[in-house]
């Protein structure tokens, strides 16, 4: 335990980096994921195709491969940015595919018959989405999105492999010097668990707030 206490400062700073990567990529992937879903249900075939391709591509590439590609290939292509930024961009782009999948399955829980009824009453497609589909899809989508965000949290640890000093990388460094793997990695594990729990609880509260009356 002494190693953790002695290195509290750099460890806390590393935790800060983890949380920064988590929060920014979470917001980014939620926004991008929703946009992809809108494209995916739009009446424009090109948009639908592009959104479908996007999801297929990123769901079928290992995140680590994508990360390495970005870290080594982007500077080659003349795109220079801080490593942490690269990691955030990659996580955003990657998790957006999962967000899009979760949101789409939420939309699918709204019975097709309700959409048909809305259109038969003269509601335009946009009105149907806004007044019928979205309010119900939101309720079905909170928990799955919470799970995507927890997966995102775990995936932030991959930043260590490209040299970003976030939590995993920092505890690894501390352990190399102090050689107290059990307390050090347990502390890190508990920290990740606490963050995941916080995400889960937040999702639970949001879900309760938007719960459907039965």
């Amino acid at each position: 335990m002494t190693a953790v206490i002695e290195n509290l400062d750099p460890l806390l700073r590393a935790l800060g980096t983890t949380v920064l990567i988590l929060v920014v990529s979470a917001i980014g992937s939620l926004v991008l994921g929703v946009l992809i879903t809108v494209a995916r249900v739009s009446p424009i075939p090109v948009l639908r195709g592009a959104a479908f391709a996007y999801v297929q591509v990123f769901v079928n590439i290992p995140l680590l491969a994508l990360l390495l590609l970005a870290v080594f290939a982007l500077p080659d292509a003349g795109l220079l940015m801080p490593l942490t930024t690269t990691v955030i961009v990659v996580l955003t782009v990657y998790e957006a595919a999962y967000v899009a999948e979760a949101v789409r399955s939420g939309i699918n829980t709204v019975a097709a018959g309700q959409v048909e009824a809305a259109r038969a009453m003269g509601l335009r497609l946009s009105q149907t989405l806004r007044h019928v589909v979205v309010p119900q899809a939101v309720r079905a989508v909170v928990q799955p999105l919470g799970n995507v965000m927890i997966a995102l949290l775990m995936n932030t640890a991959l930043a260590a492999t490209v040299g970003v000093v976030e939590l995993t990388s920092a505890v690894n460094k501390v352990n190399l010097v102090a050689a107290q793997p059990i307390p050090i990695f347990t502390a890190a594990g508990l920290t990740y668990m606490a963050l995941a729990l916080a995400i889960g609880l937040a999702a639970g509260r949001i879900e309760k707030k938007v719960a459907i009356h039965r």
Binding site: A111, E116, A117, A118, R119, M121, G122, Q136, H213
Partner: protein, 246 residues
């Protein structure tokens, strides 16, 4: 003769290789109640759904109140607002109370003032006998009550034509009559109706004309008394004897 409310001429519809509607010709006069019957898969639902273009057709022409059906878009939405539709599975909006279900389209499509929409919605719920359920959610209602709410929801748009696709087929037997009563009332009040149903009692009581479909074609049409008591076609006779045997 006045313009028919619905006029179908040479309507053809295929699902892939399946020829579901074969050169259908059908007119429905204003205030007329037409009941469509026929064996499962004969194309009754499809016929009903082509009238508000939920199913686009492959050939022929459909006019509603003299106007050819427009392409998907603002104009079609406008036409649909004037054509009520009641589904077998009710299709109430699950996140809205019964009252809000009835008010949604008047508010969003007709842009009626909220207070007006509310008063009208309550009057309609009264008319279909579920005013006391106005604040309930669809899942809290029985099937019969849900279907009556769905009818009220359609009526709120002041449709000039109503389409019913087997409105009582998903209901427990004891709830069928409460929905049929509402429909008979509508017919009496002069609503133009196209009703796909297996309820022969309703056809006898409320229909001006029975249309019998088989294999995508209209095989026979006649006023109910004539259709049931002096059936002309062999196919309709065998269909009726099968239904009555149950």
């Amino acid at each position: 003769m006045s313009t028919p409310m619905v006029s179908m001429r040479g309507v053809d519809k295929r699902f892939g290789d399946l020829h579901v509607l074969r050169s259908i010709d059908l007119d429905v006069a204003p205030q007329e109640v037409v009941v469509v019957i026929g064996p499962s898969g004969s194309g009754k639902s499809t016929l009903c759904r082509t009238i508000n273009r939920l199913e686009p057709i492959d050939a022929g022409e459909i006019r509603v109140d003299g106007r050819p059906l427009p392409e998907e878009g603002a104009e079609l939405a406008q036409l649909r607002a004037d054509v009520g539709m009641v589904f077998q599975s009710f299709n109430l909006f699950g996140h809205l109370s019964v009252l809000d279900n009835v008010m949604l389209a008047p508010l969003k499509v007709r842009r009626v003032a909220k207070a007006t929409a509310r008063t009208e919605a309550m009057a309609l719920l009264e008319r279909v006998g579920i005013a006391d359920k106005a604040d309930r959610f669809p899942a809290q209602l029985s099937g019969g009550q849900q279907q009556r709410a769905a009818i009220a929801r359609s009526l709120a748009m002041h449709p000039k034509l109503m389409l019913f696709d087997e409105p009582t087929s998903a209901l427990d037997p004891e709830m069928v009559s409460e929905v049929l009563e509402v429909m008979v009332g509508l017919a009496r009040d002069g609503m133009t109706m196209v009703v796909v149903t297996h309820e022969m009692g309703f056809a006898r009581r409320a229909a001006d004309r029975v249309v019998f479909m088989d294999d995508g074609q209209i095989v026979e049409e006649a006023p109910p008394a004539e259709f049931f008591d002096a059936t002309r076609s062999e196919r309709a006779r065998s269909f009726l004897s099968n239904v009555l045997a149950h």
